[in-house]
């Protein structure tokens, strides 16, 4: 690859800076939470486990028995679709478990 192409690559990459730094969308926040859970769980999580892990993170700091309803309300419906949408091409589901393409993302871990 020549010097000209290199300069062009730099321009393309730094063009990302032009993306407006608006507040992250709900999907990107959920995507971030899902990524962290899937990447660092000690075994591949099942879809239902992931759904409950996300819901418990949504509850307030003080947990009381009256949290049962808010907890159920926090459970994301259509969890499989949300994982596919938020996880983009970095995650996949096999047999109700969620896997990350960890080797491509974090080769040093």
């Amino acid at each position: 690859m020549g010097e000209g192409s290199n300069a062009s690559n730099h321009r393309d990459l730094y063009g990302f800076r032009e993306i407006p730094a608006t507040a992250p969308s709900l999907n990107s926040l959920i995507g971030e939470q899902i990524s962290k859970l899937v990447l660092f769980a000690r075994r591949p999580l099942k879809v239902l486990e992931l759904q409950h892990a996300l819901a418990i993170q949504d509850l307030p700091e003080t947990l009381t028995p009256s949290m049962e309803e808010p907890f159920n309300d926090s459970l994301i419906m259509n969890m499989e679709r949300r994982i596919i949408h938020c996880g983009r091409n970095l995650m996949e589901m096999r047999g109700h478990r969620v896997y990350s393409h960890r080797t491509y993302i974090l080769p040093s871990i």
């Binding site: 000690r42 999580l45 099942k46 486990e49 009381t64 028995p65």
Partner: protein, 194 residues
Amino acid sequence: MHQTVRDFFLREDGYVANLMFRINEREVHANIAASCLRYLIFCASHNSEQYPLLLINSWTTAHFEAYLQYLDQRPLIGYALRYLKDHMDRCLGAAGLPDLVARLVQALTPNNPAFHLLQCWVVSHLNETLIPEPRLPHSKTNESLTVYTPGLTPDGLRNRWLCLGARMGLHRVVEALLIVDNRINIEVKNKDGG
């Protein structure tokens, strides 16, 4: 990966370094550990409300079944019980976790069914001890209450949970029961052996 791309991603003060997806491994383990503890506290709190005054010695089969059904609706319990210690070991000294552990121990009062399930687990995974139920004092007025009910020793209770859970086909519950009591040396397999 082209060198320019690599530079772009790895530059310490660059755009990528400040993105929300930057991951601090220790922090993530602390968050997962906190989620596990919060989940266990949440489940334990629910139980103590459902069965506030009923000592487990007087539970009927229906009580046991209702409680096991509840546990089966909480699919993260097995993961939390099995891997909480792993996550905590990877973020030693993380703020907030000791407080959550204390809150879990506090929630596990003797009249809470989770107390009986987690007695061994709390010792082996959290290095804590649950305060056992005080024996009723002997006196003439409550003599009938002080009689120790046989058949509900810790082992007897554990076997009762396990038998009912297996009979009801609640594999998640059976798995969790096997995790909390490491004296049982069997494997849970599905019909395909997986």
